[in-house]
């Protein structure tokens, strides 16, 4: 009746696991209780959850990312603590639990922090940057969000019911096969990946069509803001690379569920196929995560230097070159797998090439700042911190692409340090810069400056303290993912790394404090003009927060930095001569329903509760069909109403301070 699900699935086996489960459950109950107490369920449902407004969907994506960031970070802190104390002892975590933690940390950070964060920023900003009123497929956008949320929920549920995978975030066979991992952990991983990767592919498709088809008249491709270019290249990578992950995870699932032999040890299976399929996605994924951050840095540098970006075209070509190269160099992730010397030599030469376009972008940013009037705002601080730190990460990356050097450093903490050097200053700092930079766009008030600076310093000091020791330990030969060790010389470095994690904890806390302080003091942080930073690109032409339709009249674009040009020409902020009716999509509950049903389906598949899986599957199909054969789900906003809204925005000295969060 309940498949493999029994009472033993609850985490009675370990006090720490029990505590984690309790905190999660209490957190969820607390959130439910709070919303009920505030009486905000109706508001939440009608204004947010079922909304098809790309800005609200974007905010929900970022919210999901920030919540999951806390979970992923707690995992990191637990690992650092374990390694700091586990010299010649088992520390405080049993091996099985430690393995779950490093698996869930990476899975969460990549799929449920970085991906939703970047997609959230795309959602809020890209349509406004290209002068569009909405995405090409607003409903599909909602489906993507709720599929991602379903995947995240699946990982969170594994904390309470059953165990998560212990096979690492890449779930390499044969360890991840049914024979060696008979529990449901790997199944949780597979279904979380499958569900959320469908959401990601739909997002990529949606942005591709939106950017190609919905640009404002006059905006040629070579006039698009850099962040939009990054979104375009990222979307292409998502559409082309994510199917490989889907295939790899699905084939692994077939091995586990139906006893097939794709990657098994015997009967003709070959685990190396999995590794190849996985990294066809895995390497582009690094750039899917980093290119959006590059886009943010370009916008931030141009705005806060008060200058047009130096070398706009070279930046575009670099972004595109990085995207194309990333699809072709996956093999350097498995130099040591045993490929022939010709194969390794080819990829050993191709992989470092990616440093060339990356270097070009760095110099473009430096030359933009050169002779500019640089304002050291919080987004700019994150950008500068990134530039300095990323150069180090890039160098260590080039080092690893050299096959002879990659071999001894393979699977050491050097790799861990390099990877985090890409992901924290490279990607996460970019997202945080974008979060600080565009927050007033979405909500109409700025984030507190003082706490932002504190958060920045805590993050960057914490980063260096946490990961420089790991570089050194890598040279000393410490393997990654060690639950215990017996080399006394490693411990001092691991204690320093633990200290770094504590600093980053402060960074996380400061971000939360910043948000709370800013919401409480929002009256003093209000953005009356809609353009708090003296911006250059089109997203600052709308009100802050923007009207549901973004642009009352779609602007005509004549060059790069369209908003800056409008300000120079004196046409900015003028009411148009006449308004037209605007057609916008109706909101829909089907997206939420589809996500919920996908969660039910995936959960039932994990525990092999077939009747429940059938219900979930029917539910998903029903939600799709309920939408697929309707011609139009749109309503008309009359011109008079548009005019009233715009009038309020253009004349109010201090516009209303946005929706309280």
């Amino acid at each position: 009746m309940l498949g493999k699900l029994t009472i033993d699935a609850l985490p009675f086996y370990s006090g720490i696991a029990m505590t984690g489960a309790l905190i999660s459950v209490l957190g969820l109950l607390g959130a439910v209780a709070l919303i009920t107490w505030l009486g905000q369920w109706r508001y939440l449902w009608t204004e947010w959850l079922r909304s098809l407004d790309h800005k609200k969907i974007g905010v929900m994506y970022v919210t999901l990312a920030l919540i999951m960031l806390v979970r992923g970070f707690v995992d990191a802190l637990m690992m650092r603590t374990q390694q700091a104390v586990a010299l010649d002892s088992h520390g405080y975590l049993p091996p099985d639990h430690f393995d779950q933690i490093f698996t869930s940390h990476a899975t969460i950070m990549i799929f449920f922090v970085a991906m939703p964060f970047l997609v959230g920023l795309f959602n809020v900003i890209v349509p406004q940057q290209i002068g569009a009123r909405d995405m090409a497929f607003p409903f599909m956008n909602s489906v993507s969000l709720w599929l991602t949320a379903a995947g995240a929920a699946l990982v969170m549920v594994s904390l309470v019911i059953g165990k998560f995978s212990t096979a690492g975030w890449n779930a390499y066979p044969p360890y991840s096969e049914a024979q060696l991992s008979p529990g449901v952990g790997v199944d949780y991983w597979i279904w979380a990946i499958l569900v959320s990767s469908v959401g990601s592919i739909l997002t990529g498709l949606n942005f591709l069509v939106t950017i190609i088809k919905r640009r404002a008249p006059g905006m040629r491709l070579m006039m698009m803001p850099q962040f939009t270019w990054a979104a375009l290249c990222t979307s292409v990578l998502i559409v082309f690379a994510f199917p490989a992950l889907t295939v790899a995870a699905a084939l692994l699932g077939l091995d586990r569920y139906l006893g097939m032999h794709f990657f098994t040890n015997g009967d003709g299976g070959n685990l190396t196929n999995y590794i190849e399929l996985f990294w066809i996605w895995g390497h582009p994924e690094v750039y899917i995560l980093i290119l959006p951050a590059f886009g943010v840095y370009s916008e931030v540098v141009a705005t806060f230097s008060g200058r047009r970006l130096f070398g706009y075209e070279s930046l575009v070509y670099s972004t595109a070159a990085i995207a194309v190269l990333s699809l072709g160099v996956c093999l350097h992730h498995f130099f040591t797998l045993g490929a022939g010397s010709d194969v390794n030599a080819f990829f050993g030469r191709m992989a470092p090439l990616i440093a060339v376009p990356t270097g070009v972008t760095i110099f473009d940013w430096l030359l933009t700042m050169y002779r500019g009037r640089v304002r050291l705002s919080v987004p700019m601080l994150f950008t500068l911190g990134f530039i300095v730190t990323f150069v180090i990460g890039g160098m260590t990356g080039v080092l690893l692409t050299l096959a002879p050097a990659g071999r001894p450093m393979h699977d050491t903490t050097f790799l861990v340090a390099h990877f985090h050097n890409m992901m924290i200053p490279g990607a996460l700092f970019g997202y945080l810069a974008g979060y600080q930079y565009w927050f007033p766009k979405a909500f109409g008030f700025r984030l507190d400056d003082k706490w932002g600076r504190r958060a920045f310093w805590a993050w960057i000091i914490g980063f260096y303290l946490a990961f420089v020791p790991l570089y050194i330990l890598g040279f000393m030969g410490m393997p990654q993912r060690l639950e215990r060790y017996d080399v006394a010389g490693w411990q001092p470095y691991l204690i320093v790394a633990e200290l770094g994690a504590v600093f980053i904890l402060c960074g996380v806390v400061f971000l939360a404090v910043q948000l709370a302080v800013s919401i409480r003091g929002r009256a003093g942080l209000v953005v009356s003009t809609g353009d708090p930073w003296n911006g250059r690109t089109l997203e600052w032409a709308t009100a802050s927060p923007p009207a549901v339709y973004n642009f009352a009249v779609v602007p005509h674009v004549h060059g790069i930095d369209a908003w800056w040009d409008m300000k120079q020409a004196g046409t900015a902020g003028r009411a148009p001569a006449r308004f037209r009716d605007i057609i916008m999509s109706d909101d829909s509950s089907a997206g939420v329903a589809l996500g919920a049903m996908a969660f039910v389906f995936a959960f039932a598949m994990v525990w092999q509760i077939w009747w429940l899986a059938a219900i979930g599957g029917i539910g998903v199909s029903g939600a799709v069909l309920s939408r697929a054969f309707r011609d139009r789900d749109e309503h008309r906003i009359p011109a008079s109403q548009v005019e009233a809204t715009e009038h309020r925005h253009l004349t109010a000295a201090v516009p209303t301070s946005g929706t309280p969060t």
């Binding site: 082309f240 070959n270 190849e276 066809i280 699809l327 093999l331 490929a339 022939g340 010709d342 194969v343």
Partner: protein, 102 residues
């Protein structure tokens, strides 16, 4: 990428397409059935017939017209490059690893 135009309201392209596709199917099946050629040459025939037939389908069934000036051409070319890179690279790496591990 808007291949459907008023021009293809006649059944003619489909008839041309089906005849060409038939020929290009019969050739490789015939070669394999008759074993008239050494295996290596059979592979070449199969591959060539498949590629030509895919182009025939794209042209006559999907009406993908690749005129030099059309943006479709650039997109199709980019996609072909990516697909070849992924499939070709995968085959190269997988066969190499397969030969060395199995």
């Amino acid at each position: 990428m808007a291949p459907q135009r008023r021009t293809n309201v006649t059944p003619k392209p489909y008839l041309i397409g089906v005849v060409l596709a038939l020929v290009l199917t019969v050739i490789p099946f015939g070669v394999v059935a008759s074993r008239a050629l050494p295996p290596k040459q059979i592979f070449v025939v199969i591959g060539a017939a498949a590629i030509v037939q895919i182009v025939v389908h794209l042209r006559f069934f999907l009406h993908l017209e690749l005129k030099p000036s059309s943006p479709n051409q650039r997109i199709a070319l980019c996609f072909a490059v990516v697909l070849l890179m992924l499939a070709g690279g995968t085959l190269w790496i997988m066969f190499n690893l397969h030969d060395r591990t199995m």
